[in-house]
Symmetry: C2
Subunit: 230 residues, 2 copies
């Protein structure tokens, strides 16, 4: 590439990375707010999470447009091309994380309907926090191309999976003992599942980062043992 | 592009379309087999669905490799570039559909554990059939670039959503009346949710096809009203 083309390319890559960082920050904030809304039965905060998800979707669209522009104008070679395609995959994953947070927020008004305090809710914020930290670290690993941090993210997914299995059992027991709460607890099951899936998505990002940084895949592990063990 | 380059490009696009068609066929088959395994408590068939999902994942990886190769070697222009990037997005969606079918299959041994016949199971095959047909039609719409068929797919998603809401209510009632089945019914809730999400993914494909064929977006609709109404 000519020197001015390289400069333009580098600037575009910086813009791309900035958009991904903004998107990641918004997804993390969405998880935190959704969990807070759930704990506090705060419908307004929940509605805010739902509304703010539109910006996350818009950033994904912006990244796609920019990637197509970069490829069309700069014709990046091998590694650079793989990097911009990887950006597309990362934003698709972050968009899904945003959707999971939105889904949790959408359930807040239904779960809060009877103003009952469902004890199993108390388990969810810690689970949400671990998943949120995984998202943050996965995106930090991406920004710094840090394979060690990526491995740490992947390893932490078992914490979220164990949380999920525990929440699942607790909720089932609670439903048996409090049949009047079954409908709300069913929604809480989905909330727990959404958090567990956020952990899986952070793991996906971390695996992509590890592969991009080292050229090797991490050893195969079964995602979401919860699917079987719960 | 020079004539031989155009020919090579066309052949590569054909290969790409062939891989997507194979992947779609496999995802449809996976949905059908998973539903059959669920109805018949057939663990072997369920294990087969889980095993065969690896081929779906492998095709996605093949498509990604081919797309990067096409871009690097052929430097496709505007519309062609958008088409190959769209292929990446479509295979990501079909891969998710395969995962949902796999998740359903993974729950078969847990749901079948007590050899109990849970009446709400009887609702699921029809729901699965509608979702499977949506996937088939969405991929046919993609192959034929048919915006009308794409619209028909999007419209049918409300059928799946209504099914889901009905299954949700039926399961909650059943759990209240049969507390011993709560754990298995919780798994059935997730099965119903997975089918509902398959309908959403087929809708995603149909929306992309519509946009690619007409240059316009379909009017915004809230995916999965089930998130609120169930």
């Amino acid at each position: 590439m000519a020197e001015h083309t390289i400069k333009a390319f580098d600037e575009e890559i910086d813009t791309l990375r900035g958009l991904i960082a903004e998107m990641g920050g918004r997804a993390e904030a969405a998880i935190e707010k959704a969990m807070l809304a759930l704990q506090r039965h705060d419908r307004e905060l929940a509605a805010q999470v739902v509304a703010e998800d539109k910006r996350i979707d818009a950033i994904e669209a912006e990244v796609e447009k920019l990637v197509i522009q970069i490829i069309a104008l700069r014709a990046p070679m091998a590694n650079d091309l793989r990097d911009v395609i990887a950006a597309l995959k990362i934003v698709a994953v972050v968009e899904r994380i945003g959707d999971y947070a939105k889904n949790i927020a959408k359930r807040v008004p239904i779960i809060a309907v009877n103003k009952r305090t469902l004890e199993p809710i108390s388990l969810l914020p810690s689970m949400g926090q671990v998943a949120g930290e995984m998202v943050q670290d996965a995106l930090n690993a991406f920004a710094a191309r840090d394979p060690d941090l990526a491995v740490a993210v992947v390893e932490r997914d078992t914490v979220v999976d164990d949380f999920y299995n525990s929440v699942f059992r607790t909720l089932v027991t609670y439903m048996v003992e409090n049949p009047k709460t079954i409908s709300e607890c069913a929604h809480l099951l989905f909330v727990a599942k959404n958090i567990e899936r956020i952990g899986d998505q952070a793991t996906n990002v971390a695996e992509m980062v590890y592969y991009a940084a080292t050229g090797n895949s991490l050893p195969e592990r079964e995602r979401g043992p919860s699917e079987i063990e719960e």
